[in-house]
């Protein structure tokens, strides 16, 4: 197989970037998309040009270092599949393929196709955890969790933190990412004590990172390689509003500019 590639090249964060055209020849249909890029890079190196930078690591669809907008679709045309698990058999021989980085203000480009996604880590820092310092846990079977709850929690917990939801969203919102964590932890009994504080803090941090707001387009769940449902966003909004109603914040705060980190303030649990 052979392809004509248009690849975003940008030498550094403050440099202008542009699309550059390359030919990919001798491509086997069994190659993964990233292996096809390896071959292109091998050719570039042999010709003395600088290879294309792109993030990748496990290549089995779980670490999600890989990203890539492929023909305008986050992770390419195959549903429920990360770029590293996409194979060239999904493309027509001779096709033209456009490859761009994730585009969002919160994800500045580092080089070519590699972007800085540390904003997602900071959202987790704001509250995406259960406070359980090592050593204090009781016997695991003393917490009963219904199979239905744990299965639903696992559906959300599968999020690999790739950022495709942000890249796909017309508002560049990180709502699906944030909601998936709030849903995972909020569905478990262990997650209840911090449930509302968590929702407040994480949503607030999301705003501070200059992600956009959610207007329920649903592009995120279409792009998600783990097919996480936007139902989790509804859950996040519900927890967030309840936290505001029962918490110490004035009502208008919920709809106004949110500037301060909430975890310094006491949040009363409605349950």
């Amino acid at each position: 197989m052979r392809f004509r590639l248009h690849v975003w090249r940008q030498s550094g964060p403050d440099q202008p970037g542009k699309m550059v055209q390359y030919e990919a020849t001798d491509v086997s249909p069994d190659m993964s998309f990233l292996e096809m890029l390896d071959v292109v890079n091998q050719g570039l190196t042999e010709r003395g040009e600088v290879p294309i930078a792109f993030d990748h690591d496990c290549r089995e669809g779980i670490c999600c270092s890989c990203s890539l907008m492929i023909n305008g679709i986050a992770h390419g045309p195959m549903k429920g599949t990360a770029t590293c698990q996409l194979h060239m058999r999904s493309f027509k021989d001779g096709a033209t393929i456009y490859i761009e980085p994730w585009r969002a203000r919160a994800f500045p480009v580092i080089k070519d196709l590699a972007v800085d996604r540390s904003a997602l880590d900071r959202i987790v820092q704001a509250g995406g955890f259960i406070t359980a310092p090592t050593g204090g846990a009781q016997d695991a079977n003393s917490i009963l969790v219904s199979k239905e709850s744990v299965d639903a929690a696992m559906d959300a917990a599968q999020c690999i933190g790739c950022g495709a939801c942000v890249a796909a969203c017309p508002n560049a919102s990180a709502s699906l990412f944030t909601a998936a964590k709030i849903t995972h932890l909020g569905l478990l009994p262990q997650g209840q004590p911090e449930r509302y504080r968590r929702a407040l803090s994480m949503v607030e941090q999301m705003d501070l990172e200059s992600f956009g707001s959610c207007t329920l387009h649903g592009e995120c769940q279409e792009a998600c390689p783990k097919e996480i449902s936007i139902d989790s966003i509804t859950r996040m909004n519900r927890d967030f509003i309840r936290a505001g109603v029962w918490g110490t914040r004035p009502w208008h705060w919920l709809f106004g500019v949110r500037l301060r980190r909430s975890d310094q303030l006491p949040v009363r649990s409605p349950d």
Binding site: S11, G12, S28, D30, M31, S32, L34, E35, D38, V39, Q42, T45, E46, G48, V50, P51, A53, D55, D57, C58, R59, E60, G61, I62, C63, S65, Q85, H87, A114, D116, S118, D121, V124, Q125, G128, F129, I130, T131, A132, P133, T134, A137, Q138, A140, N141, L144, V145, S146, K147, V150, A153, M154, A157, Q158, G161, H184, L185, L188, Q190, G191
Partner: protein, 639 residues
């Protein structure tokens, strides 16, 4: 022998050692903990768990990873599960049984006391993870579910679908992020450790390269913990991530840390076979699949029929035939060799003849496709995505691939290497799995080391050693920075004809052909020459494009492959010297009449810790004798 290999195993009965040791270890008072800095290299299960826990205790922690986020460490890819001696199934499990299974599974080449402690704290790991919100699979009544794994006759494996590693790592990652927010941990993502700094015989810091800006920096600490993973990528094609590398442990080796049992590599029996030259990695299909899948090949040589057309009586379920009591759940080394054997006989399947079937037909008939989908759905999907075949209808095609390295830096009972203050945890050390690791034990070891062992033992080290104050202007730091910068410049200046990847691929092929599933004297000797020649060519003819002041992935890889070219040689030297077969190390010269690994306990019941002797000099062999006070050494049998 020049290394001090004192394992510092506490005295007393096996079951009391860890408890007694915890009492005897010195403590650091909270005010002093705030004044001590600990460096953790790596953010996988061992690294993230260790960094978070030590920060919770009050230490200042600096944690480093080469990925863009600590959540991407390769622990995330572990699929099947984590062992723990909870005996929730009432099937006869106990701490002692887990200990025994692990020592036996490791073919009696691990240290009893370390393994016992691992089994002991395994139960705490599950409690800790559940408290963090890890969504382990559950029964309808709300209790935790278990599955079986290779090398055990009890069900002691806890799992979260086929993504157990991911969920455990996210638990540790979240604990780590919580500490980062509280300023207990400073995180350095996209940063690679390129040297260790030793001052007055003590590990005092590391030199790193910022992978985005290229800046070379020194970091000073009172203790250093390496949790940087294994070195399976020496083989180029493995189930490791592309970035997994041995640089941190290799630089420590060159600074004086003993490297133990480098030849012990695990070849995992169930991976998707190689499909072409361009291939960059191999994908594992979890061992848990062998709970329901049956492994077979045709009885006839060269039988090219569609597997569904081959009648039952013309199939050879060779694992069930050879190992009736463990069947398809025989340990990994044994299952891998059995697959190689049938392929060598010409009965392998698939285009290359290097494959065997893993068949779910019977299981689907027995419990239905829905139950199978619930158990392994994501694995089946992954298989289908890669191979374009539907495993619900056609048997999976699998073949062994490099998966894990049991060898690593030598550590004592406190997980401290032969360099004082340098601790090593997880896959990066050698301690718990002997010559073969059992399935679902890597996650257990990583978390045991990180959550429960290292936070205690590092404290003991800090309390017993009052390190002098040094800063990054110390001549040793400056010298190390200079060396790192020189080496980087050298790699960029060679400007040869071959890409880094082509060298890596060639090294991998040499290692796989001669130091892989079966090894012999002549082959290893040949490989030694080939690797040395390849390394010579590398430093004359490698082409590394770009500069050192930007994100340069070719340069990162070039440094790692340069280290693999040296480590590969040490693996071959170790494999040559160990003339017995044990676990994953199979010397063709040493086998039983029916082709099983034949140990030589009289001559080889020791840990081989290799010591760096200087550029161009052969490494020095040091031995730690293995003493078995509780387990009787026997020919390992799974028949």
């Amino acid at each position: 022998m020049t290394l001090q290999l004192d394992a510092r195993v506490p005295t007393g009965p096996l079951g009391d050692k860890w408890n007694k040791h915890r009492f005897e270890m010195k403590l650091v008072n909270p005010a002093n903990k705030r004044k001590s800095t600990i460096i953790v290299v790596g953010s996988g299960l061992a690294g993230a768990a260790g960094a978070a826990t030590m920060s919770e205790l009050g230490y200042k922690v600096k944690c480093f990873c080469f990925q863009d986020s600590p959540r991407r460490a390769h622990s995330i890819a572990a699929q099947g599960g984590i062992n723990a001696a909870k005996n929730y199934q009432n099937d006869g499990d106990s701490v002692y049984r887990l200990f025994y299974d692990t020592v036996k599974g490791g073919d009696f080449r691990s240290r009893e006391a370390n393994v016992y402690r691992l089994a002991e704290v395994s139960v705490n790991i599950i409690d800790q993870c559940v408290a963090q919100g890890v969504p382990f699979a559950r029964e309808y009544g709300g209790l935790l579910a278990n599955r079986s794994f290779g090398g055990a006759q009890v069900s002691r494996t806890f799992y979260a679908r086929g993504q157990t590693g991911q969920q455990l790592l996210l638990g540790a990652y979240q604990a780590l992020e919580r500490q980062i927010e509280r300023k207990g941990v400073t995180m350095y993502p996209r940063t690679e450790m390129l040297d260790l700094v030793v001052i007055d015989g003590k590990a005092r810091g590391i030199v790193t390269r910022n992978l985005v800006t290229g800046a070379i920096e020194s970091h000073v600490a009172d203790a250093v913990v390496l949790a940087s993973g294994g070195y399976g990528n020496v083989f180029f094609l493995s189930t490791n991530a592309q970035g997994s590398n041995a640089t941190a442990i290799w630089r420590a080796y060159k600074r004086g840390a003993g490297f133990a049992n480098p030849c012990y590599t695990q070849i995992h029996p169930t991976c998707i076979p190689v499909s072409g030259e361009y291939q960059s990695k191999l994908t594992l299909m979890s061992e848990s699949l062998r709970n329901d899948g049956r492994v077979w090949v045709p009885k006839k040589q060269g039988d090219k029929r569609d597997p569904r057309q081959i009648p039952e009586n013309e199939r050879d379920y060779y694992l069930e035939r050879k190992y009736p009591s463990f069947g398809n759940l025989a340990p990994r080394d044994i299952a891998s060799r059995a697959a190689k054997e049938v392929c060598d006989e010409g009965r392998g399947v698939g285009d290359s003849g290097l494959g065997v079937y893993l068949d779910f037909g019977d299981a689907i008939k027995r419990v239905g496709a829905d139950v199978i989908r619930e158990r392994y759905g994501n694995l089946f999907e992954m298989y289908q995505r890669i191979t374009n075949e539907n495993p619900y209808e056609v048997p999976m095609l699998i073949y062994p691939a490099v998966h894990y390295t049991m060898g690593g830096l030598w550590v004592d009972y406190n997980l401290m290497s032969t360099i004082e203050g340098l601790h090593v945890t997880g896959e990066a050390n050698f301690s718990d799995h002997g010559a073969n690791r059992l399935g679902a034990s890597a996650l257990m070891q990583g978390l045991a080391d990180g959550y429960f062992v290292i936070p205690n033992t590092v404290g003991d080290y800090l309390a017993s050693n009052k390190p002098e104050k040094v800063d990054a202007s110390h001549p040793e730091f400056k010298a190390a920075e200079e060396q790192v910068a020189q080496r980087t410049k050298k790699l960029l200046s060679i400007d040869g004809k071959r890409t880094v990847m082509s060298f890596h691929r060639e090294l991998g092929k040499i290692m796989w052909d001669y130091c892989g599933m079966a090894r012999n004297e002549a082959g290893l000797q040949k490989a030694l020459g080939l690797v040395r020649a390849l390394r010579g060519e590398y430093w004359r003819n490698v082409n590394v494009p770009g500069s050192d002041v930007e994100l340069n992935q070719a340069l990162e890889k070039a440094g790692r492959v340069a280290d693999f070219l040296e480590l590969g040689e040490l693996m071959i030297i170790d494999a040559l010297h160990r003339k017995e077969s044990c676990g994953g190390h199979f010397r063709e010269e040493s086998q039983t009449a029916d082709g099983e690994a034949l140990r030589d306990d009289e001559n080889f019941a020791y840990v081989a810790a290799w010591e760096y002797a200087g550029e161009g000099k052969p490494p020095i062999l040091n031995k730690e004798p293995l003493v078995f006070e509780n387990v009787k050494l026997s020919q390992r049998s799974y028949k």
